[in-house]
Each structure stands twice: as C-alpha cells, then as structure tokens.
C-alpha cells in the first residue's frame, strides 16, 4: 500500500471515532453536570456514562496501530 494512503487510513481510523466520542461526551457532559448538581450520589454512574463512548476511540486507536503495523510490515 502506498505510504501516504496508509498513514491517512490510520489517521482516519483513530480520528473519526475520536470525533464521534467527543461528540457523544459533549452531549453526556452537560447532562452529567446537571445530574450531579441534584444527585451527587450518582457520581459513579455518571463517570461510567462519560467513559462508555471512549471505547469507540480506544478501539479506533487499536485499529489504527494495526493498520500501521500490518501495512508497514
């Protein structure tokens, strides 16, 4: 595979999920802050809800690394 396409693919593999995660967290964050203002006892649930979309970015990162390693190899 051409080097430039390889790097572009790897960047997109992590970039797009990261944007998606950011968008999801931007929606969860304000709701979480409002929830915590009223019910501080829900801290753990709120932290989990914020952390859940990060899976997408992390899996994107893994795929990106695999693209670079497999393509480079």
């Amino acid at each position: 595979m051409d080097g430039n396409w390889l790097y572009l693919s790897a960047a997109l593999a992590v970039g797009i999920p990261a944007l998606a995660t950011g968008w999801a967290q931007s929606r969860i964050g304000p709701a979480a802050a409002a929830t915590l203002a009223e019910k501080p006892e829900l801290t753990v649930t709120v932290v989990l809800l914020i952390a859940i979309p990060e899976t997408v970015a992390i899996l994107g990162f893994v795929v990106s690394v695999l693209i670079l390693l497999q393509g480079g190899g």
Partner: protein, 622 residues
C-alpha cells in the same frame, strides 16, 4: 443472618433496647401493624423529652465542631449527668464557643481589610517625612494593576487638565507588582476627582468604618498599630477556646456519646409494635450472635424476654441486610464495591476479585518503576495523614497496591520514567512497550478473556441456587467465549491449525444448547460478551499512550537549547503524565470492573446492615 422476633413486657422496652445496643448487632426492621398489635406512639411527655434531647444533641454537636478537637471522655459516670445538667453544660459551651467564633471571624475580616491598605503604609511614611500639610485635603486610596503605567499617565494627564496643580499623586510599587497610589486633592475638588477616577475606571478603596474618622496620616498610624495588636487578640481567643476544651471538653464528649445513644434507642422504639401490656419487634442478627443475645437478655431480665427465630421459609433473601466481610488485605477495596449499590443478600461479594484485578490491571497499564514509586510516596503521605477506617485511608491503601503492581510491571517492561530505564541499563523482561504493541494487545485481551470468564462463572454459580437453566446458560456462555478465543488463535496460527475445525464444530454443536438455556437473545448476548473482551484493549491503548508521553518528556530534555530549560520542561511533562497516568487508568479500570465484569454476575439491591449500637465521634456508631 437470622431474623428474630423479640417479645417482652411493654415497660421494659427501653431497657431491652439499651441491652441490645450494648451488643450492637441487631438491625431493626419496621413491623407491620395488625389488629392486636399497634405501632408504638410516644406519649406527649415522651415527645417533649425527645425534643429536648434533640435540642441538646444539636447544642453539643455544634459545640464539639467549634471546639475542633475531641478530648478523651470524662470518667464521670453517664448517669451522674442528668438531662437538665447536660443541657446546661452543652448550651453554655455552645454559646461561649459561638461567641468566640464570631469574634475570631470579625478579627480576621478586620485584618484582611487592613492588609488591603498595607501597600499604602510606606507611601504615607514618605508623605509624613515630606512635611506636606494634609489639613482640608481629601485622600483617595487607589491600587493600580500590574502593567498599568499607561493608565497612570492618562489619569495624571486628566487630573492635570481638570485641577491644574491642585493635586498630589504618590505611587509606590508593592511586592505583588501592583502599585499603591494615594491621590490627595483639596476637599473642594473631591467631587471632580471622584468623577475623573470613575471615568478612568479606577475604583478607590473604602476605609473600614472604625478608621473613617480623623486625618489620613493618623488613620494609617492607627491601622499599623491595629495590625500589630490583632495577632494578640486572636491568640487570646485561642487561649479561651483551649480553656473551654480543658474545662468542659471531656464532659461534652461524654454528653455527646450518651445522648446520641439515648436518641437512637428512642427512635428505635418507634419500630416496635405493642399491645396494652407487651411489645414485639423484629430484626436481623448474625446467626452466630443469636445465642449471645438471648443469654444477655436472660441475664438482665430473667425469663421476661422471649427471643424467637423466624424460620427461613417466612422471609425472602432480599429482605436481609448485607454486610461486606473481607480479610484485612482486601478490605480497602470494599470502597470500590461500595461505589455501586450493595450486592443483594446471599449473592457474590465482588471485593476479593476487585482487590486482585484492579491493582493488577492498573499496574499493567501504568507499568513504570518511577511513576509507581511516586504513587507509593503520595499514597504513604495520605496514609500517614489519615485516620484508620476512613475513606482517605482506604484510598491510600488501594494506591499502595496499585503502586506495587506498577513497580513490578515497570521492571518487567524495563521502564523507569519511560525509556530512561533503558538508557540506565534497565532491560525489558517480557517486552518493550514502545515497540511490542501487538504482544501488549494480546496480553490485554487475554486478561480480558480471563476476567470475563471468571465473571460468567460467578454468574453461573450464583444462578445455580435459583434458576438452574440460566445457570447452565451462563456456564455455556463462558465455555463458548473460551472456544471462540481458541478458534481465533488457531485461525491466526497462534495454535496449531489442525485445532481449528474441531473447535468450530464444537461451537456449532454447543450453540443450540446455549439458545435453549438462555433464550433467543443468547447470540446477541454472546456477541456483546466478545465485545466486552475486546474492551480490555484499553489496557494496551492507555498504557501505550502513557509510555509514549513519558518518552516524549525525556526527549524534551535535549530538544530545547540550554539543557537546564529542557530538563525543567521534561520534569513538568513527566508530572503531567504522572497525573494523567494515575487518573486515566483509574477511570478505565473502574469501568472495566463495573460494566464488563460486574455485568456478568453482580446482583445489586442489598440493604446496608445498620445495627443499633453505641455512638462514636468518628463513625457515627460503633
């Protein structure tokens, strides 16, 4: 736990509750009224007594908070302190301490007000030595922000054009970089000067009330004198507080404990139901302590009190209160379990698994001798500054376990503040995380597989007591996940290829059994479980990000011209990476536990075991 019912003569109810409080093991529950048994209603006299007790408790709690220390309780017997006497002591102590607190607050406010004028002191020294006559002069106290030279020039020009030579503006830079300025104008021109200051958006400081009278130099002299006197006045308040602590502190501690105990027995009385002559209440007690309770009541009341055990058939498991009981080594990790609702009675307490896997995953992710040692130092600091059985103490002990695993895995990866370890001769034992991304990913997924299979197995064991078909389904899911992992390994030639076909056939054979046991949603559940295993890739992702940040920090040392500047940047970057390296794995490991692991077996809904027991200042009740 055993559910018990206690019956006895109505007039002995409070005494019985006091003996039960001494034992400290009975968790009371509300008792439903029947035709013959009615809820105990306090008499007007008892209600009045309860209100009095609550008021004294509030007084003593406030007094203890303001006292700021907890002396050892007095040896005087509790009985010698009657309620009126206790109310008198607590009320007087509260009023005295509140008075002292008000006075202390006033003095602190006065000090902070005078400190605002401190930058003007040296300017006034200059004025007083210059021989300037300040009679009939209005003084404005101004503070010019850092870099406000242009504002000063503009203000001076505006004053000159409006007042000509009829003003003096003294400026003195202070240690903070701001300038303290004094504007002196004739009283006649005061209004004009005020308007000019307002236009220039310079807000003059207003003198505190007690200094508003008198000449400017005299005012500043008085402020200087007052600032010298204030520490003495504050020290006098502290002496008085200490005197109250030594004279009344022990009595207050005794009153606080005995009244809290008394209050809890009165409020527990409302959980009893009564007939005109007898009382009945129900509660939970650890099965091993039941005989002890009976013996104590027998000793105190002879045969007047009857303790019955309610048979297991008469109550549901969910009704029993829950207490987490773990070995000392695992106990700090109960704080992590307690962040979720308590597990229901009779279900698995996940604390021992959390105690093993949480610090291990954390250590695999952070995996650095340097950062691990730093975390250990921070944890030890928190440990020495915290009291036993408190949340900070639990956090420090969890931190120490995480630090230990981080140091161990740091040696295995050969990392000390990133690649500094390699440069100092520390060699990786298992793999170098900077390069071995795929082996690290494999390790993370393998750990995920083990963790999820343990979760599914616990789910199977837990369900085996009730719904056996679902228990088989859970066990089958665990087996299927293992088989799918093995088949994938065979497909990628990590296992001999000849295993692939038999493994796939076994999976196909087991699949219908899984659907029969778990229902038609079982395939979706299985895919979701495989997704859960993949989620453990975050251990690799967060770990790799952490080590790369550390490597970047080390490279900074040589990237900036002078070595000193590079080292400062590198240290700052390492500090940021350390904070991120502790925070990020904590959040992700919590998520792996709560979502992926607990989701396979955890059954929430337990009621906290809160027995009637004696009160203590630290924990509320002991």
């Amino acid at each position: 736990m055993s559910r018990i019912r206690v019956l006895g003569p109505r007039e002995e109810l409070q005494s019985v509750l006091e003996r039960i409080q001494d034992l400290g093991l009975v968790h009371f529950v509300d008792f439903a009224e029947t035709e013959a048994l009615t809820q105990l209603v306090l008499t007007p006299q008892q209600e009045r007594h309860l209100r009095n007790v609550r008021r004294v408790v509030e007084d003593v709690n406030t007094a203890m908070r303001l006292l700021g220390e907890t002396p050892a309780p007095s040896r005087r017997a509790a009985e010698s302190l009657t309620l009126p006497r206790a109310a008198l002591i607590a009320g007087r102590a509260r009023r005295a301490l509140e008075g002292l607190e008000d006075r202390r607050r006033q003095l602190e406010e006065e000090r902070s007000l005078i400190l605002k004028f401190q930058p003007f002191f040296s300017t006034f020294d200059k004025i007083s030595t210059s021989g300037l006559d300040l009679d009939g002069i209005r003084i404005f106290y101004l503070v010019l922000r850092v870099g406000g030279e242009q504002e000063l020039l503009r203000l001076r020009a505006a004053l000159r054009s409006a007042l000509g030579e009829g003003f003096e503006l003294f400026s003195q830079p202070s240690a903070s970089g701001e300038s303290a300025m004094i504007l002196a104008v004739s009283s006649v021109d005061a209004k004009t000067a005020e308007a000019l200051l307002s236009e220039a958006a310079v807000q003059p400081l207003v003198l505190p009330d007690q200094f508003s009278e008198g000449g400017a130099i005299d005012t500043i002299r008085r402020m200087q004198a007052r600032l010298k006197d204030l520490p003495r006045d504050l020290a006098e308040i502290e002496v008085e507080r200490k005197r109250i602590a030594s004279v009344r502190g022990r009595d207050l501690v005794r009153i606080q404990a005995s009244l809290h105990d008394h209050l809890s027995t009165i409020t527990t009385m409302e959980k009893a139901v009564v007939t005109p002559r007898a009382f009945v209440f129900e509660g939970w007690i650890p099965s091993a302590a039941r005989a002890d309770l009976e013996r104590r009541l027998q000793k105190s009341f002879g045969g007047m009190i009857e303790v019955e055990t309610i048979s297991r058939e008469e109550w549901e498991g969910e009704m029993a209160p829950v207490v987490l009981k773990n070995p000392r080594l695992f106990r700090p990790f109960e704080a992590i379990t307690r962040m979720m609702p308590l597990p229901s009675y009779g279900s698995v307490d996940p604390t021992p698994f959390v105690a093993v896997f949480f610090p291990m995953f954390f250590g695999i992710t952070l995996g650095d001798v340097g950062y691990g040692a730093l975390l250990a130092a921070v944890s030890l600091l928190i440990r020495f500054r915290s009291s036993p059985n408190t949340k900070p103490r639990a956090v420090s002990e969890i931190g120490l376990a995480c630090a230990l695993f981080s140091i161990v895995f740091g040696f295995l990866y050969g990392e000390l503040f990133g690649d500094l370890g390699h440069r100092l001769g520390l060699q990786p034992i298992i793999f170098n995380r900077e390069e071995a991304v795929i082996p690290f990913l494999g390790l993370a997924l393998a750990l995920g597989l083990v963790h999820i299979v343990i979760g599914l197995s616990l789910g199977a064991v837990q369900r085996f007591r009730g719904d056996k078909r679902h228990a088989v389904g859970r066990a089958m899911a665990a087996v299927m996940v293992i088989l799918i992992a093995l088949a994938l390994m065979a497909a990628f030639e990590l296992l001999p290829e000849r295993f692939f076909t038999p493994l796939v056939i076994t999976i196909l054979v087991l699949f219908p059994i899984l659907i029969v046991a778990e229902g038609v949603l079982a395939p979706i559940e299985l895919v979701s479980t495989i997704g859960n295993v993949l989620s453990y890739a975050r251990i690799m992702a967060v770990g790799t990000a952490s080590v790369m940040m550390a490597v970047a920090a080390n490279r900074m040392a040589g990237a900036f011209g002078p070595v000193f500047v590079g080292i400062v940047f590198a240290l700052l970057f390492h500090l940021i990476n350390f904070v991120l390296g502790v925070f990020s794995p904590t959040i992700h490991m919590l998520r792996l536990h709560y979502v992926e692991f607990f989701g396979k077996f955890f059954s929430p809904g337990g009621v906290e075991y809160e027995p009637l027991r004696h009160w203590s200042p630290r924990e509320g009740a002991v």
